[in-house]
Symmetry: C3
Subunit: 256 residues, 3 copies
């Protein structure tokens, strides 16, 4: 019984995600289907890669992860199946898989006709190639059956800028539902008081472990659940308070 | 192990969809539950019918599809179970099932007390009739056990206006998450250059197979993944560019 | 094969819900995972409690319900597992579980290291404590194995103000997707004509069973599917028409 996860920018108001699930279940009736998210911002490959990389390692070994954020669908980019870290990843070769499937990895271009529904829609490889491939994998097919090995795939690294230090700078890589700013800074000691500079403005933030370590409305600097330094406002939104969004530059310096 | 899908306008912020799933699992603990969508626009029976018709055929034979877009709940319209195309469909007799369950079909009015939870809420047949019926079907009950056969059910056809031709007109039947316009035109050759008229305005669009066939920001005319002619803007929104929405009239003519 | 449900304020655009599911499936590969909702308004513990209490009783005996609306995560509040009404409830001790898990109940503080992933993120007990606990329960662990019994847990009662009567007052406890006002009034006869006072304004509403009992655009007073008195507008929004929201005070009086 294989787990198949889905990470897409399809949203949930159309039938696209349901269509993919129907195809998987038609091939692998006992697959366990799990949504990671269908709310990746439209065509934001890096955001999809980050969501997948966040959740995929928590699933059981052998899980199959389908990721479809695919502005180049039907054009030259390859359809991929990748084996890495004991999991299988299926999606377009545009970087969306690379962060969750770190080297050493084995990548294959999907071109075996058994791994597609004909006629393949040029705008919906999610249904006609990736869901079929995931269904076959869930029934025990090996990634190498999908097609020729590829020596390299498109890489999108997660932006990382080293640990939090007394004087450091980074970028916002993601703003979550709570308005928390997930940054490119990874690791470092968060205790103490910090000055945060962002878009020409300055803020004072307090280092801590969790939201309750600061007063309501105050800025907190902490190590987030994904291992990155994050900035939050207790019972509020750091994005709203600071005006920062994905891609914003941040500077942090330790206050005496 | 039966698949039970859900297509509703309940949204996902309330507990209504979860309530239905609890009822199904209480009757059929090994049912596989799949959301097609809970984001059908409120009370938009035709939109629900279209989403269901899009996704349902992709599920395994014997799947049970529950669709609840039901402004007339608790009033005179019948509760239905329909067998068609090797699948089972459960929902109100207002057209939401008809497009996905084409003739030849067998339709039954649900009035067997075993197919309802008493007391039935007059405003939530989704939980008290349709989920119960789906659960019973998932455990092997036959549609005919639900109640008397009905000679006819309410029909809502998908609007179709024939193939794309050198001079043709159609309507927008759906706008998807990407702002793509799904039209009533089915089939026809999309190659070449097109003039699109919509709400008194004129646009030039290029025929192609997929988004990458046109420049960023340009209009594309193509056969969509559901077999209908669609209009998209590469890396943009055709709905935003043209001002068209569901129901808008479109005219297309081939340019020399 | 255990059912595990999820009720959170995590939204669906981040990978948080997916992360929890990965942890559960890693421990209990054959668990059946069901979302009640991830759209609880941010940090609104009472709204989460209400959604859980609405849906949980409909699931099969032995179901495991994880609820994470948790502004105090990582601070002093306890992590809980509660056995009540033949179900198991897992979440923070802030009231989110209490309404769905009525007395008699047995509550335990989760402090057994087997029921957490180390290092526990101070901001994501959903993943590192509650999902682990749910996974263990799904594999047959008993709640009492989680840690010491607690004599009491934080209570949030559902606001209830007695039955609808000729002169009565209550509050809006929830506004659903349709703009229906779910009130604190429970039971009573809804027939006849009513005057509704709200925020200094007066409206006439008709008592009935379902939406079709009134004209399009008219206000309906009825017993909702959860047993509470609700106020709706047929094919419209009672919240929009009256201006009422969660917490609004309402007065109802029977008209001659």
């Amino acid at each position: 019984m294989a787990v198949v996860t889905f990470t897409t920018d399809f949203g949930t108001q159309d039938a696209y995600a349901g269509a993919m699930k129907g195809v998987v279940l038609s091939l692998a009736p006992d697959a366990v289907l799990v949504d990671i998210t269908h709310q990746v911002p439209r065509q934001d490959v890096a955001a999809g890669a980050l969501a997948l990389a966040h959740a995929a390692p928590l699933f059981p070994p052998g899980s199959i992860h389908v990721a479809v954020v695919d502005p180049g669908v039907g054009a030259e980019r390859a359809d991929l199946v990748v084996e890495a870290a004991g999991h299988v990843f299926v999606g377009p070769d545009n970087g969306v898989l690379a962060m969750a499937a770190p080297p050493p990895r084995q990548a294959f271009r999907i071109d075996n006709p058994r791994f597609r529904r004909e006629p393949v829609s040029p705008t919906f490889h999610g249904r006609d190639v990736f869901a079929v491939t995931a269904g076959r994998m869930a029934r025990g097919a090996a990634p190498r059956e999908a097609g020729p090995a590829l020596p390299a795939i498109v890489e999108i690294g997660a932006a990382t800028d080293g640990p939090l230090a007394s004087e450091c700078a980074g970028t916002v890589v993601h703003v979550d539902r709570f308005g928390n700013l997930v940054t490119s800074l990874v690791g470092g000691r968060t205790d103490g008081s910090w000055q945060l500079r962002c878009a020409g403005r300055r803020f004072v933030a307090t280092g801590g472990r969790t939201y309750a370590d600061v007063e309501v409305g105050a800025l907190l600097v902490y190590e987030g659940s994904g291992g990155r330094i994050e900035i939050a406002v207790r019972d509020g939104s750091a994005a709203a308070l600071t005006g920062a969004g994905a891609g914003s530059r941040l500077e942090l310096s330790r206050r005496p």
